[in-house]
């Protein structure tokens, strides 16, 4: 009859709607997973990069720990490598103490700017010869997303001890 819609049209419409819904459902499911994966990859690489800078870079200037406490603004980059021997994975106990001082007095914002990152992070160094904590620099910002990336590095201290540097990074 005139004005009536054929059964073909109904079936085609239902199929079309079904597939549109299916497409949207799949897309909304996949996109966050993709985004999380991208963030995780970025955080992992940045965590490794930051740990590498701490363990194997002396900082700028190389004797930045001597600028404390009055010329702290002259520090451009923070690294813990003992510049006197310049050997990879051998960090300076004096620099660790200086980083601890900066962490306590200047806060994370200062540290983030000197470590070229916008991520929240914590750095902990534990002396593995006696279990004592050499550095405990943890951001106060809550990890509201509940996701963080951890990198652990084994390091030699320049006084003959050895320890573990644990770096954790998260997006606030």
């Amino acid at each position: 009859m005139k004005g009536q819609i054929s059964i073909d049209y109904y079936v085609a419409l239902i199929i079309f709607i079904f597939f549109v819904v299916y497409f949207l459902f799949q897309t909304t499911n996949l996109v966050p997973v993709f985004v999380n994966q991208m963030e995780e990859q970025r955080m992992r690489s940045e965590t490794y990069q930051m740990s590498e800078l701490l363990v194997n870079h002396a900082g700028v200037p190389a004797n930045w720990d001597l600028l404390l406490p009055n010329n702290i603004g002259q520090i451009q980059r923070i690294g813990l490598l003992d510049q006197t021997t310049n050997k990879t994975n051998r960090i300076s106990v004096a620099k660790v103490a200086s980083l601890d001082f900066i962490c306590d007095t200047q806060g994370q914002q200062f540290l983030r700017s000197r470590m070229m990152t916008d991520l929240e992070f914590s750095v902990i160094i534990v002396d593995r010869t006696d279990g004592s904590t050499e550095l405990d620099c943890v951001s106060n910002t809550t990890n509201s997303r509940g996701f963080l990336v951890t990198t652990r590095r084994v390091v030699a201290l320049d006084d003959g001890r050895y320890g573990e540097l644990t770096m954790q990074v998260w997006i606030p």
Partner: protein, 438 residues
């Protein structure tokens, strides 16, 4: 075909096509990465570098217990397994098969069982063995025996497997088997009886190799660089000093001992693990205070106090040293091919001008053999202990216990080239493997 059937078929076809397309487009996604592998590789590198940076790489390469303690301190993951190996240098343990008596084995252990080179402990493990079959080992020591015809095949097979043989005997006329194995024959058959007169010199001297490829190079290098251990015993903690101006030893525990060579006895007192008082002029009074790597001169020869431990010292002999004549006058041999570059030690010359050898080395790709006149049956002072240790190590097989990754799920090897020159220049590779078994 009835009207309406065609559109229904088209719809079914379209539905199937769309399902297949969406299945491809929205297939099950897995985001795989290899950060876990990268983490193991990074951990391995950090471990080895840290071992080196704290100055313990030498200790860890020679002491499995020390390495295990270090790794358990630094690896929080309980399911991570490790393995290690050494390539291109002396292994921490060298097994010496010896056709010796129990008493001889004990003597050998006492003389050369514990060595130290470049900060690494090297252990010579002596095991009693017959000559057929020969015990599993790195080097075979045949002490005093010259009739080897019955064991020729076994010994040659042992050599062919890359291992070494050291023969210590006063062989006067080597038979064909002895000649084939050790490469020495009586002098007369090599250069003619007329050129084999004379009784040598009063001292035995080294024939310095002129190039590193020389068969004698390694033994010569080891003798003049590797220190030999001297054990002390607990003594009265008052060290007699020759000079009142010398610093006093304030330690309450003192060990004393004697470093002897060529009938010279140099007394020493170990004050503590860093200081030794030495009597260099044979009057039983200390006249020199030594620390590690300090040099001293006794009986006209130079020595170095390489290592000082609580109750023992490790002394190395400097170039220029000569042995007392320990050659049996009946022993008159030469390298069977007349090649005098194979002679490590000589007792002067025959009257024909050829050197009169007391230690001869023959090297090949498959194995290394050393013959020496018997110097370990009597008066085995520290100089002779060092000589037998050098000969055994120079002849030992060049096996490497480089680890292989077995049936584990994930594992990576971290090789580390280490260059050390504390006692002797060595370039070797330390391998540390880390992996997950499951």
């Amino acid at each position: 075909m009835m009207k309406g059937q065609i559109p229904i078929l088209e719809m079914i076809a379209v539905t199937v096509i769309l399902f297949v397309s969406f299945g491809i487009l929205f297939s099950q996604r897995e985001f795989e990465n290899r950060w876990g592998d990268a983490d193991i590789i990074l951990k391995g590198r950090d471990m080895v570098l840290t071992m080196d940076r704290i100055g313990m790489l030498g200790t860890f390469t020679s002491s499995p217990d020390a390495l295990a303690n270090f790794l358990s301190d630094t690896i929080p993951e309980r399911n991570l397994i490790y393995w290690s190996g050494l390539e291109g240098t002396l292994q921490p343990t060298v097994t010496v098969a010896c056709n010796c008596t129990t008493s001889q084995i004990n003597d050998l252990i006492n003389w050369a069982g514990r060595l130290k080179l470049n900060g690494r402990d090297i252990r010579l493990e002596f095991v009693s063995s017959s000559l057929e079959p020969i015990q599993q080992s790195d080097v075979l020591l045949i002490w005093g025996r010259t009739g080897l015809a019955s064991y020729k095949a076994e010994i040659l097979s042992y050599l062919a497997s890359g291992k070494g043989v050291v023969g210590i005997s006063d062989v006067t006329s080597p038979d064909s088997t002895y000649t084939e194995i050790f490469g020495v024959r009586d002098c007369g058959s090599v250069i003619g009886q007329g050129n084999c007169g004379g009784n040598g010199d009063t001292e035995i001297t080294f024939v310095s190799p002129t190039q590193a490829s020389s068969p004698t190079f390694k033994a010569h290098k080891l003798f003049f660089h590797m220190p030999i251990r001297s054990l002390g015993s607990l003594a009265v903690p008052i060290i007699p000093l020759e000079n009142a101006n010398m610093p006093l030893c304030l330690s309450s525990t003192v060990f004393d001992g004697t470093f002897d060579f060529k009938n010279v006895e140099a007394m020493y007192w170990i004050c503590n693990a860093t200081t030794v008082y030495m009597d260099t002029n044979d009057n039983n009074l200390a006249d020199q205070v030594l620390r590690e790597n300090g040099t001293f001169r006794v009986g006209g020869y130079d020595f170095k106090m390489s290592y000082i431990e609580t109750n023992r010292t490790f002394v190395s002999i400097r170039p220029g040293f000569r042995f007392d004549d320990f050659r049996n006058s009946q022993v008159k041999v030469l390298p069977s091919d007349g090649d005098t570059t194979k002679i490590l030690l000589r007792d002067g010359n025959y009257n024909g001008g050829s050197p009169l050898p007391v230690v001869v080395m023959n090297g090949s790709e498959s194995g290394r053999v050393i013959w020496g006149s018997d110097f370990i049956s009597s008066n085995v002072d520290h100089d002779k202990r060092l000589l037998i240790a050098s000969m055994l190590l120079a002849a030992s097989s060049k096996r490497s216990n480089a680890p292989t990754i077995g049936d584990i799920q994930t594992g990576f090897l971290t090789p580390y080239i280490n260059v050390v020159n504390r006692d002797m220049l060595e370039i070797y590779q330390f391998n540390l493997g880390l992996g997950f078994p499951f």
